[in-house]
């Protein structure tokens, strides 16, 4: 007589999969819902365009937004050319199994797993002290550039590798040099992949706190130059929630703004991957 445990066991995987998916979706909705509930009533044009008062309890976050913008700009200005150049070198001038390429890739993989606080300490030692930049937007941006480069390079390299080899053969058969093929044919074709890498890096940089605590500092005044200390959005949230009693309301509102930006960036990546990348690479 067959053993009967009383319920249909074939349903277990289905229940587990649906249960897991529902749990994740529920967590996300709860998380965003809570942010909206706490932050949305205070989010206003005035909040975005006025100075921070009373250690951030009152007023807005205009200097924080400007500082964040400057830090991200420094990060991108440094990371983009280095990221594109290294990715092009890895994809076009090294083989996947070559010693040099393998060494760089292994190093990038290790670097991308390093906790951001270590990057913060490294940035503090190198940029703030050795190079004498002190706690500044420049130090913060440069540290973030070091942090996002591994991710940016690997995504961009994959973008280059996704370009059909036929284009390389065709350009070579026309007597075009490798440099010219790279600049005129491969870079435009790999551009969508590069842009996806840039946006993901931007998202990671925007959400970063630990690396900036030691480098760009806490000052919530409007920065006047890149050598001024500046407070990023994530640090503002951290400071208001941990160090400023009564700062929760503005912390929630800032967090809502930050999460909103990150969701928009993720949406942009999804759209780019679905449309532009596939179209450029001729994927149906």
């Amino acid at each position: 007589m067959p053993y009967n445990i009383g319920f249909d066991t074939s349903r277990v995987p289905v229940v587990l999969v649906w249960g897991g998916a529902t749990l994740v979706a529920g967590f996300f909705l709860g998380f965003v819902g809570n942010l909206l509930w706490q932050g949305l009533p205070h989010l206003s044009w005035q909040f975005l365009t006025t100075d921070s008062l009373d250690a951030g309890r009152q007023g807005g976050i205009a200097p924080i937004i400007v500082s964040t913008g400057f830090i991200l700009t420094v990060c991108l200005v440094v990371a983009l050319p280095i990221g594109l150049g290294t990715a092009a070198f890895l994809a076009e001038f090294t083989t996947k199994d070559g010693k040099w390429g393998r060494f760089i890739r292994r190093s990038l993989d290790v670097l991308s797993g390093v906790p951001s606080i270590i990057f913060g300490l490294f940035g503090n030692a190198l940029f703030c002290h050795v190079l004498g930049l002190g706690f500044s937007i420049l130090s913060g941006g440069l540290t973030l550039a070091c942090m996002v480069l591994p991710l940016l390079i690997r995504i961009t390299e994959e973008g280059f590798r996704a370009v059909s080899h036929d284009y390389r053969l065709t350009a070579a058969a026309l007597g075009c040099s490798r440099t010219s093929t790279l600049l005129h044919v491969l870079v435009p074709l790999a551009a969508p992949g590069f842009l996806v890498g840039v946006i993901l890096s931007l998202g990671r940089a925007m959400a970063e706190t630990a690396a900036l605590i030691f480098t760009s500092g806490y000052v919530d005044r409007m920065p006047e130059s890149l050598f001024d200390s500046g407070r990023a959005l994530s640090i503002h949230i951290f400071d208001l929630s941990m160090n400023v009693p009564g700062g929760d309301r503005n912390a929630y509102t800032t967090a809502l703004l930050l999460v909103g930006c990150l969701i928009m960036l993720n949406g942009l990546v999804t759209w780019l991957t679905r449309h532009w990348v596939r179209q450029r690479l001729g994927v149906a």
């Binding site: 053969l169 065709t170 350009a171 070579a172 026309l174 007597g175 075009c176 001729g282």
Partner: protein
């Protein structure tokens, strides 16, 4: 393909007749061998390809036909672990020598691939890009050469009003003609065609075949094809590659009539009769 153009043509002279008539060889391979690591793609190939003629390279897959073609413009340089030995003269010049200017060689030796592969640019930029690469900067000269190349492949009338449209909007046959124009715009003397019709419908194939026929005498054409009927229709000379256990070999070559009507090698006989390959 216009049948009359193929059937009514005079066969190109045989190799012995070429010498008698003073016709110069264009490509000469002597004991040419290509290996990928330990594996030989083809071995000890010796062949003379006459100037201005259409030479078809036929044979089963894996016998080294495309690899041979890629030696002629040194595209093999791009393939990792690929090594070429022997001698290969193109218009009297040893192209395997280290001093060879490979970029200039590829300007003289155009190549068309199996699948049409225009760059994801406009029609105009597809032709402009290689010209600028080879130092043609004058806009009038560029426009003149674009016009000439597109006219030569019969595409000018079809695209003259949409030169700035993306090349990908053209049909497969038009794209292959654009690729042909892109090679012709550099004024090559030799054209390497690697199964240029295999990805096209019969009508588009016919158009390409007519074009290839029109190239006789103006360009030295070396065409890899799996289509024996096409080789018979178009070629003046035919080389038959065959795969042995130690890699590809050129088992026979000669004028088209000899290969198809009185082949010497038993494998060639089996191949053209459809019993092997």
């Amino acid at each position: 393909m216009n049948p009359s153009s193929a059937l009514n043509r005079e066969p190109f002279l045989g190799l012995s007749s070429q010498k008698e008539m003073g016709i110069t060889p264009c490509i000469t391979a002597e004991q040419l061998t290509l290996t990928y690591g330990e594996r030989a793609a083809f071995q000890n190939v010796s062949i003379t390809i006459p100037r201005g003629a259409i030479t078809a390279i036929v044979g089963p897959s894996g016998s080294g036909k495309t690899s041979f073609l890629m030696c002629v413009n040194r595209l093999t340089d791009l393939l990792s672990s690929c090594r070429v030995s022997g001698r290969l003269l193109v218009e009297g010049e040893d192209i395997l020598s280290k001093e060879m200017d490979v970029l200039h060689l590829r300007q003289r030796v155009g190549m068309i691939f199996q699948k049409p592969n225009p760059f994801p640019f406009s029609i105009r930029k597809n032709l402009e890009f290689p010209l600028k690469e080879h130092g043609v900067k004058n806009p009038e000269a560029i426009n003149g050469r674009i016009h000439q190349a597109l006219t030569d492949v019969g595409l000018w009338q079809e695209v003259k009003n949409r030169l700035d449209a993306p090349a990908q909007t053209l049909s497969g046959g038009q794209q292959q003609r654009l690729c042909l124009a892109r090679a012709l715009v550099l004024s090559p003397t030799i054209l390497l065609l690697d199964e240029p019709c295999s990805a096209l419908d019969p009508l588009s194939s016919g158009v390409i075949e007519d074009l290839v026929l029109s190239f006789r005498g103006r360009y030295t054409v070396v065409m890899v094809t799996h289509n024996l009927a096409q080789a018979r229709r178009l070629a003046d000379c035919v080389g038959v590659f065959w795969y042995h256990h130690d890699g590809g070999h050129l088992i026979e070559h000669g004028p088209v009539r000899q290969i198809f009507e009185s082949p010497r090698d038993p494998l060639t006989v089996s191949y053209i009769n459809g019993r092997k390959g």
